[in-house]
Chain length 136, copies 2
């Protein structure tokens, strides 16, 4: 057996409102769930991007919780990469800069394929990359 | 514009060798890259799961780096969820328990769909869930 696919990827943020604005408006993802102070979730293709407030998710569920979701939560800059074609990366670079988002790095990988890197408001390292960097 | 898909999801681990064994042998993912002491990467469907040693990835690249990958790295338990059908979740539960991996939680969501939760050796919270919990 092998896992069929990654369904949910998670990042942790210090300000959910700023995260909601960034991922929803700057990146244009569709919000699918929100619990004030705890999380905001976005759909991305056939996956889900979870943005959590670690202060809340690190608290273990009560013994009688109806949904005993195990605790989790990190500190520091996480990383996530979105898939994009070469043309899309060029368009994203211009779009992000127009919106005031700094491009932290922009380079071609030795075996071909471009990546650009930038930060979300919480400092997580985000990337757009061509799938061919992984032979995909 | 909206990101086409999530290409890479990242978790941080304290022991890359144990992570490689867990994700490669216990979960059966295919390893696609490894840099001793820094990272081990696995393919999962049309995405990539990145496992990093944050002590190394938090160090900024040198000014003349050929590939100036921006620094990142977290502490604490991250979260990632793999997609599985109801039948697959049942099979994973038995398979993981047979391999000595404790199931930390196992429940149905209010709108239908089952999730099981367990930990990787670094303490990251992993999940198998039915895509229908997100209407996917």
């Amino acid at each position: 057996m092998t896992p069929a696919a990654i369904l949910e990827s998670a990042l942790y943020v210090d300000d959910l409102d700023r995260a909601e604005e960034f991922y929803g408006e700057t990146l244009g993802l569709t919000r699918i769930a929100k619990v004030e102070g705890r999380h905001v979730f976005f759909r991305c293709d056939d996956g889900v991007l979870l943005l959590f407030n670690a202060d809340v998710t690190k608290v273990p569920p009560s013994a009688d919780a109806r949904l005993p979701v195990p605790p989790h939560g990190t500190r520091g800059a996480g990383h996530l990469c979105f898939k994009a074609s070469g043309e899309e990366i060029e368009a994203w670079r211009h779009d992000l800069e127009k919106k005031g988002v700094a491009i932290e790095a922009d380079f071609e990988w030795p075996n071909g394929g471009r990546s650009i890197y930038f930060r979300d408001p919480a400092g997580n390292s985000l990337e757009f990359a061509e799938a061919r960097i992984w032979g995909l």
